[in-house]
Symmetry: C2
Subunit: 161 residues, 2 copies
């Protein structure tokens, strides 16, 4: 572990946590009725984005070597299929709880990781490929998922009227 | 300069460049008529987002110590004021050119920066504060601006029908 590793991990982690907080605040502010509306005419509904982000974040648990998935049942509805595919959605209350729970699990696990661990390969890249491309590490996944979250937060913010 | 600095800079820079490319591709795809439309009913228009992102990226030049601003005249219309404030907009063709130009300038300047330079303080933080908070460096600004870009790209993507 070096001071520089600590510094870089802090930068990436702070950005993640900032956007998790902004998204959580927005979801808390939006009513169930609002979440049933489309973000823009003909586009995804708020509830779909809530399920999508929850499923994507749940996938981080095995990808970062932090444990088994908890909400893999959301993948079919919220990742493999688009909104309004005809699949039944879980109740919003349950999705809100899952969003909160998965981010808490991640936060607890992140707080136990050393800076050096963040630089290890993530679980979707082979050791052989990682040796050639050391940027395919866990911290890079976090950076990319923060951008993914920011992308959808910008869309969800349009529902905040 | 260490290998770790090089690695971290690559991770943050790749994410930036990915979103710059995605945004540039989307702006190229959207027609002038589309950019004059609102992203969602009652919200900002595409042209406002184009000017806003151009102005914010132009501000990176002095903030990262890369030179003088080129498009500071955009600030009043696209940062200090909201869309539909009554201020006259530059022609879209000119804004498209400015967006392309400012990102080219940044790319050229970034390619000359050493990894160690990215870890220096940015120009909006004092040396005294930076000594206490070394994460307030140039690379951190890039990480945050990438998230800002992703946030608005998510909104602009709603215009891509």
């Amino acid at each position: 572990m070096t001071d520089q590793q600590t510094l870089f991990v802090k930068m990436a982690y702070d950005a993640w946590q900032t956007y998790i907080q902004r998204a959580s605040d927005l979801f808390a502010k939006l009513t169930d009725d609002q979440l049933m509306e489309e973000i823009a005419p003909g586009r995804n509904r708020g509830i779909y984005m809530l399920g999508h982000l929850t499923a994507v974040h749940d996938r981080l648990l095995p990808m970062l070597g932090l444990g088994e998935r908890v909400y893999s049942q959301l993948d079919d509805t919220f990742i493999a299929n688009p909104d309004k595919s005809g699949l039944e959605f879980p109740p919003i209350t349950q999705l809100r709880q899952s969003w909160s729970d998965v981010n808490s699990r991640l936060k607890n696990a992140f707080n136990k990781m050393t800076p050096a661990e963040w630089l290890e390969r993530h679980m979707s890249v082979s050791q052989e490929d990682f040796n050639k491309e050391p940027h395919r590490n866990k911290l890079n996944v976090l950076i990319n998922r923060t951008n993914h979250l920011a992308y959808h937060l910008g869309q969800l913010k349009l529902m905040d009227k």
